[in-house]
């Protein structure tokens, strides 16, 4: 038996012993996802037990080094764990922007002290982070951002406004792009970290077409940020931001999400018996694309691990993955018929189908629009002129 086979057997046994049956059911609503943080509460004992078991094992962030709260798994071991968790449909024990975004940035750009403090807090689910990137006047053209941090010696005084800050109203800390030099567009931005309870920070949820408010407007009114709370170098925050955008695009693409695969057709057949032949054909074409994309996701992740992927490939993944997910939800609505239109009935689980369908429309906007992704592919991968 190879080491990896042994690891697989151990992992399988560990999951069997530690993942409660309730945590192997598909996520139904928002409160089925545990985000951690100071304000967090558990929905159930099972959720708590699963989170704590994973936290103590380092499995909230399996591939991070042990000293930062992870399990120190090799890429191959992490893949085995992912596969074994997928096999029993185990829910992620902890979801957070700290894990997906700030963590990778700190691992690459953070000081040793920052890594020990912040990464452990993230891994243990103690601090929930949000991301301050977009501004009302800076969407696709993010680098034009205006939020300004005035240098006051041992601290900055930050003024400005961010928008689309996901769950800012529930977050404890923010990682935030702040202009610190107005004379230099790209090399005048600093990647700051600060407490959302700092005086002068306020948030206001934005009601979306889905009827939910996952995003906020966040206002900074003379917020004092100590001068040591930044990542990378002062005025070089754009480097960190660009690196992070790669991660964000990878995450939104669903590259590691096997759930995006096929299944609608079979579900509909079970429920309704017969399928409209034209809908069946569309579902079949979708399944071809979805199953093909899941292979692409696997290939992309394999290549990233060994540095074989083109550095701009996350943009392609983001483009293809989000367009696919939008199509999936269009088909789910078509398959659901009038039942999928229900907005707040118990039977529709509070309009889950309709709200998810509407939510997915943001997939090809957030983290860089599909059009921006195509621009980047044209320029950096195909090397087309003037792009």
């Amino acid at each position: 038996m190879s080491d990896l086979d042994t690891f697989r057997a151990e992992t399988r046994a560990w999951l069997e012993a530690n993942c409660p049956p309730e945590m192997r059911e598909p996520v139904q609503g928002e409160d089925d996802v545990y985000w951690g943080g100071r304000k967090a509460t558990f929905k159930s004992e099972a959720q708590k037990a699963w989170f704590e078991a994973c936290r103590d094992k380092g499995y909230t962030v399996p591939a991070w080094p042990r000293e930062y709260g992870g399990a120190g798994l090799s890429p191959a071991e992490a893949k085995v764990l992912r596969e074994e968790m997928a096999r029993i449909n185990a829910r992620p024990p902890l979801s957070s922007f700290g894990i997906w975004m700030l963590g990778p940035a700190l691992l690459k750009f953070g000081t040793e002290e920052q890594k020990r403090k912040y990464l452990n807090e993230i891994a243990r689910g103690e601090i929930r982070w949000c991301q301050g990137y977009s501004e009302p006047g800076s969407g696709s053209d993010l680098v034009s951002l205006q939020t300004f941090g005035e240098d006051k010696g041992d601290h900055w005084v930050v003024n400005g406004q961010k928008i689309w800050t996901s769950y800012a109203d529930k977050a404890d800390w923010i990682f935030c792009l702040v202009r610190t030099d107005k004379t230099n567009k790209y090399q005048g931005i600093t990647f700051m970290l600060f407490d959302m309870e700092s005086p002068g920070v306020s948030t206001k949820p934005i009601l979306l077409i889905s009827g939910n408010s996952p995003f906020c407007e966040t206002f900074f009114d003379d917020v004092k940020v100590p001068k040591d709370q930044y990542v990378g170098e002062i005025n070089r925050g754009w480097d960190v931001a660009k690196y992070l955008l790669g991660h964000e695009r990878e995450m939104i693409s669903g590259a590691d999400n096997s759930e995006r695969g096929a299944g609608i057709g079979a579900m509909l057949k079970r429920q309704a018996g017969e399928l409209d032949p034209v809908l069946r054909a569309e579902l079949a074409m979708f399944d071809v694309d979805a199953l093909a994309f899941s292979a692409m996701g696997e290939k992309f992740l394999d290549e990233i691990k060994v540095g074989k992927a083109h550095p701009a490939q996350p943009n392609m993944m983001k483009y293809a993955g989000t367009e696919l997910n939008k199509r999936r939800h269009e088909l789910l609505m078509a398959a659901g018929g009038s039942a999928a239109l229900e907005w707040d009935s118990e039977e529709s689980r509070g309009g889950a189908a309709a709200r998810s369908w509407l939510r997915t429309k943001a997939n090809s906007i957030e983290g860089g629009t599909s059009e921006v992704m195509l621009n980047v592919i044209a320029k950096r991968i195909l090397e087309l002129p003037g792009a």
Partner: protein, 379 residues
């Protein structure tokens, strides 16, 4: 297994790429034979050279004198064949027929495999009956006759049939036309009495036969695998051929795309390189994305097939369908973005469109395979 080529496979890819770019180039092979109205549609000298490179026996077990490699390796060669539109018997002989012979007894293997490995023999496969691929239905009959069988029926789209030294024929030894059981595979030698070829040239300049079997008498030892148990062998041939055709299609797609992207960087209109126009950039970028995904699922299907995985056949259909869509897009966008010059015979982009069309139809098109994906997925 990671979804990229390991060091040995990368080396093979470099070798195959260089060989096909030099020896299998469009001017040297496809146009050369087409313009001479070659009755084979390919060059035997190149087939010999491919044997010298070791390509012809790539899927043949080492015990039979081959390289004993897998579908990933065969796919590497096929992608380069596709990129150069190289006409050769590789897909039908070294992939589909070789897969059938792999299931045959010692006698047939000994009779046919050495010639394949040496690049001296060419094999064809006779599966389709009618203009659309529908292997679930086989009407060609093989009746018991003495110690052997007597075959009667008609087969279509037998690629390189008239050039083949042996044709693998799927026929029915029992049951009704639509039955899964009762199929038997036969190795039919080219000189068998009653075998008639109506050989026609296709849009991609390949030759294909309408094959008539008019009471073809065969010995019992011409049977590949078990009598009445040929469906399993046929399915293996189909999986191998579909994944192989997908790999060749990826090559066609990448060749057409590269050519088109290069053109966008050269052609000027309105005082600008046309590649500067966002309308074209976005279409080229979308195409890139589709071709990358098609390539990924093709490699996935190759690996699953090599591993004998349970979902290999499903993913073979996914790959064939996805490549059909992506390569179809590549050649259509290719011709459109080339503008008027894309419509000329002198320019190669149109040849990609023709080859894609024929390859798309081979062993099932997008619609057939999307439908099969639905069926295998339970709807």
């Amino acid at each position: 297994m990671p979804l990229y080529h390991d060091d040995d496979q990368t080396m093979l890819a470099d070798t195959a790429r260089q060989f096909m770019a030099e020896e299998g180039a469009i001017a040297k092979q496809l146009r050369h034979w087409r313009d001479r109205e070659c009755k084979d549609g390919f060059g035997h000298a190149l087939w010999k050279q491919m044997a010298e490179m070791g390509f012809t026996g790539i899927l043949v077990p080492e015990a039979d004198g081959g390289l004993g490699m897998g579908h990933v390796e065969a796919g590497i060669v096929l992608e380069e064949i596709g990129r150069n539109l190289t006409p050769s018997p590789f897909l039908t002989s070294s992939v589909v027929a070789a897969t059938a012979l792999g299931q045959a007894g010692d006698e047939l293997r000994g009779r046919y495999l050495p010639g394949l490995i040496a690049g001296e023999s060419v094999f064809a496969v006779a599966i389709d009956e009618g203009a659309k691929h529908r292997p679930e239905r086989i009407a060609t009959r093989a009746e018991k006759s003495g110690n052997g069988f007597r075959l009667s029926g008609r087969k279509d789209f037998v690629v390189q049939g008239a050039s083949a030294d042996m044709i693998v024929v799927a026929a029915r030894t029992s049951g009704a036309d639509d039955d899964a059981d009762g199929v038997t595979l036969f190795a039919v030698p080219k000189d068998a009495a009653g075998l008639n070829h109506d050989s026609v040239r296709l849009v991609d300049s390949a030759m294909a036969s309408h094959l008539t079997l008019d009471g073809v008498e065969l010995d019992g030892d011409a049977v590949i695998g078990e009598v009445d148990g040929g469906r399993e062998v046929l399915n293996r041939m189909l999986d191998a051929g579909r994944v192989g055709a997908a790999a060749e299609g990826v090559g066609v797609a990448r060749g057409a795309m590269d050519m088109t992207v290069d053109y966008l960087k050269q052609r000027k209109q309105f005082g600008k390189l046309i590649g500067e126009f966002q309308a074209l950039q976005h279409r080229a970028a979308h195409l890139y994305s589709e071709v990358e995904i098609a390539r990924a699922v093709t490699i996935k299907a190759q690996q699953l097939l090599d591993a004998g995985a349970q979902n290999a056949s499903l993913m073979a259909s996914v790959a064939k369908a996805k490549v059909g869509k992506a390569a179809g897009l590549a050649v259509k966008e290719g011709v459109q973005m080339h503008g008027g010059i894309g419509m000329t015979d002198e320019y190669d982009i149109g040849l990609y469109m023709k080859r894609d069309r024929a390859l798309a139809e081979f062993l099932g098109d997008v619609h057939y395979h999307a439908g099969r994906v639905a069926e295998l997925s339970g709807y």
